[in-house]
């Protein structure tokens, strides 16, 4: 447990040393592989958590995250710097998740689709259901988030967990800063009600 925390802390410190400008410069230069590694490690938690919230599936979120990073690395030359790299990534995640949801709907509509019988190209060694790491706490947190309306949930997670500024969240969600503050307060109030001993959770 301590060893895992140590490694995570080590990764966090290592990746936080790299600024977005360094990463972008590295991706456009000869050190592309190294920069890509740092870039993905820095934002994989953020991208994965957003994808999982939208897709509600661990496997789909993994695939979406991979696609998001490949798209971002390929199109890093198109990044104009009008917003932060994280905001740009968020917009890519939303686009990828939307297209994946559309494909899923199409596949479920066309039941004889050959994709159903195709094996997964990538296998992941993590199965959340089999893991004993913080499972109970995570389940409680996931259930709490499900109870919140989408805007309030996104605002709460982006502000409280991801610690983004209101300006960045406003660019991501397209809501005014005043509206975001109100959403954040309402989300916390609702969570307080749900966490009460006689609450739903």
């Amino acid at each position: 447990m301590y060893l895992r925390a140590f490694f995570i802390d080590f990764y966090r410190k290592r990746t936080s040393l790299q600024s977005d400008q360094d990463i972008i410069h590295g991706l456009l230069s000869d050190k592309r592989d190294y920069a890509a590694n740092i870039f993905v490690r820095k934002y994989q938690r953020f991208v994965f958590s957003v994808a999982q919230r939208y897709l509600k599936s661990y496997e789909d979120a993994c695939d979406a995250s991979q696609e998001v990073f490949i798209k971002a690395i390929r199109n890093i030359g198109n990044f104009r710097g009008e917003c932060s790299l994280q905001t740009w990534l968020y917009s890519i995640v939303i686009n990828v998740c939307h297209s994946m949801n559309k494909k899923k709907k199409l596949r479920s509509f066309v039941s004889f689709s050959p994709f159903d019988s195709m094996p997964e190209s990538i296998t992941y060694d993590y199965n959340p259901e089999n893991s004993t790491l913080d499972t109970e706490f995570q389940q409680i947190f996931d259930n709490l988030m499900k109870q919140l309306p989408e805007k309030q949930r996104e605002t709460f997670i982006l502000r409280y967990i991801d610690e983004l500024s209101y300006e960045e969240i406003s660019q991501m969600l397209g809501t005014s800063i005043g509206g975001l503050k109100a959403n954040y307060f309402q989300a916390v109030k609702k969570l307080a009600l749900l966490l009460k001993p006689d609450g739903d959770i």
Binding site: A36, V40, R45, F48, S49, Q66, I73, A182, A192, L195
Partner: protein
């Protein structure tokens, strides 16, 4: 409420800022405003206690650690995917370009094979659909070249119609020519005898051509 007015802030604004206040993310100006306001306002005090209890229950470090743990393998797969695409001989763009080129070549071959037949069919159909009055001798001979072997009867009928049309054209030309001469002669002075003789001549010609009195 006086203090809110003094600070140019209303209670709702302060309430909305409370989660950031509890989380330590407000600037000094707002922090002082809330510190002063909560001493007088019991609602703010209770809200702060509620928010603190929520934040204590939902430890953000614990949530982040879990998220980082379950997403730790993504970087490996992304790097693998980038490496695979680099080493692949044919990319999807190559395949698309090859398929497009193949389709264009196939279409051009098929078009070159079927083009003459298609041209004949078009010629025949256009002559079939057109008004027979608009067919000239040249058109008729073209049709003759195209459908000579297979459409003998059709060809003959076209030629007959075109001949009849040519005859009508000839009649009109003769009449026009005669009237032109007549008008020219009328303009000449002191030639009434000639004019009368010419009128008679015209009358005879038109009677021979079968024109009625109205035309005269």
């Amino acid at each position: 409420m006086e203090i809110y007015n003094i600070m140019n802030m209303n209670q709702q604004h302060l309430l909305d800022s409370l989660p950031d206040y509890v989380d330590g993310k407000v600037d000094e100006h707002l922090k002082d405003a809330i510190d002063n306001a909560k001493q007088l306002d019991t609602v703010l005090q209770s809200e702060i206690i509620t928010i603190q209890s929520v934040f204590n229950a939902l430890d953000k470090d614990q949530i982040r650690t879990h998220q980082e743990y379950i997403s730790r393998n993504i970087s490996v797969h992304v790097v693998q995917a980038l490496e695979t695409k680099k080493t692949r001989l044919f990319t999807s763009n190559h395949i698309i370009a090859f398929c497009t080129l193949s389709v264009i070549i196939c279409i051009s071959i098929l078009y070159s094979i079927y083009l003459p037949d298609k041209h004949n069919l078009t010629a025949v159909s256009s002559y079939t659909l057109s008004d027979s009055n608009n067919i000239s001798k040249n058109d008729a001979s073209e049709v003759q070249d195209v459908i000579y072997e297979t459409h003998d009867i059709f060809q003959l009928s076209l030629l007959e119609e075109s001949n009849a049309y040519q005859q009508e054209l000839l009649d009109d030309i003769i009449v026009d020519e005669v009237f032109a001469i007549y008008e020219r002669e009328l303009t000449l002075e002191n030639q009434s005898e000639t004019t009368t003789a010419l009128e008679n001549e015209i009358q005879n010609v038109l009677l021979l051509e079968g024109k009625d009195d109205e035309t005269l």
